[in-house]
């Protein structure tokens, strides 16, 4: 697709792809992506575990700040993920794992937003409705799916590249 080739050949894309720098090259953005994943999925896991009853002594109202951290992780990964995609747009856009990851991520963020609304509503543990509990379970599964599909993108791109 011409637009993907155009993206891949942008000076920014080639400079990252060809850079050997461990601070600002491809390797650096891979690290930022892993850190962002740890922040987003890690904080996501903790919020869900708390809603499922782990660490009940933590008031639900104090979890609000964690959602801000989650979004910091998300924006870090939006930036690093976009840059990593640009370095091999034609290869990455061709694998279904990318779309599975984006779909699961979108769904996880929608559910996390619903959980945030509940947490900020000021209701306590005794008021956690079954729908929120189910959403927390679903979110854990979705974060695991995001991590799995994200990991598989690299292998799928490599396998496709070998076939060409």
């Amino acid at each position: 697709m011409p637009v993907l080739e155009w993206i891949q050949n942008l000076p920014l894309s080639t400079s990252i792809a060809e850079s050997d720098s461990i601070w600002w090259g491809y390797a650096w953005w891979l690290f930022v992506h892993a850190l962002g994943m740890g922040l987003t999925a890690g904080v996501g896991f903790i919020v869900c575990l708390r809603l499922l009853g782990v660490g009940r002594q933590i008031p639900l109202s104090s979890l609000g700040v964690l959602f801000r951290l989650l979004w910091v992780g998300f924006y870090l990964n939006l930036l690093s993920g976009t840059l990593l995609f640009m370095t091999d747009a034609t290869g990455i856009a061709r694998v279904w794992e990318l779309y599975a990851k984006l779909g699961c991520l979108g769904l996880a963020l929608v559910l996390m937003t619903r959980l945030r609304r509940f947490v900020e509503s000021g209701r306590g543990d005794e008021m956690i409705p079954p729908t929120i509990t189910k959403m927390a379970y679903a979110c854990i599964v979705l974060w695991l799916a995001v991590i799995t599909s994200g990991r598989l993108i690299a292998y799928a791109v490599e396998a496709n590249g070998a076939k060409l």
Binding site: A34, G38, G42, V43, S61, L69
Partner: protein
Amino acid sequence: MVPSSDLVHLHLLLNHFPTVGMIVGFGVFLLALVNKSVDLKRGALAVMFAIALLSLPTYMTGYSAQKALRGVAGVSQGVVNLHQRSALMALIFMEATGVAAWYGLWHSRRRAASGSRNTAVVLLLGALTIGLMSSAADVGGEIRHPEILSSPEAVAATEGLFAPHVLGSDFITKYQYSHPWAWKTLETIHFMGLCLLFGVVLVGNLRLLGWMRTAPLEGFYRLLPWGVWGFVANSITGMLFFIGQAFQYIDNPAFHWKMLCILLAGADVLYLTWHDEVWDLGPGDSAPATVKVLAASQIVLWIGVIYFGRMLPYIGDAF
């Protein structure tokens, strides 16, 4: 980068700690049970946890020693391989003892004494670990001391019981090459473990640094086992990466830094689990300055672990 020869020396220095340290920790544990001393018991559990941590570099540096002994006259590669397998068997039990010891410490803060089930598990795993570690050390000694070489029958008995072939580096490497899904699965679990561990580390330590001040520390304390299970998942998968491709890692500076960060973070975890005053902080309470420094260092160290883990193929040449 730490020179290979220094890593060999490090192996020769460290290799006595797992056996001797475990015997000391186990002995103190027994003494604590006889004297019904909670403090002594906690001390013994802390020693066992610390020895389990120290056993990781002890095992890993063994590959540097193995590399140095390649082609050296009078050294049997068969005995070297037997030592590797028996050491791995002992390491598995040692790490299981370390996790059980950590749980004992964790329980002991919540109750006056750690649970009897935990005590039984620590006793059983500790005794088995001492036996397996002694066996591994015995085979290790035979590598350079042929005068104490066991009879062929004794070596064969050790192989079958304490050093199964499935624990051999060559077996694990071949398995990973012939089953492409194995590496992908391990990496995926490694990343899941990273997220769980990092989530617990971040949230717990941010509370110590003054975030979410309305929450008592007790709630975060309950989250710690989830972080430990994340660490267990990553230790198992990480060790399988390492064993499968050990010679790509042993001279890799990123790997040396990663291990250093893990060991320091482990020492932090021991300190924070050990000290009661940290976890007695109630809503609105602020942690002491030393605890805040440790909390900040935990976050930095785990970011370091992620950084150097990601840099393994770039700073060094491991994939």
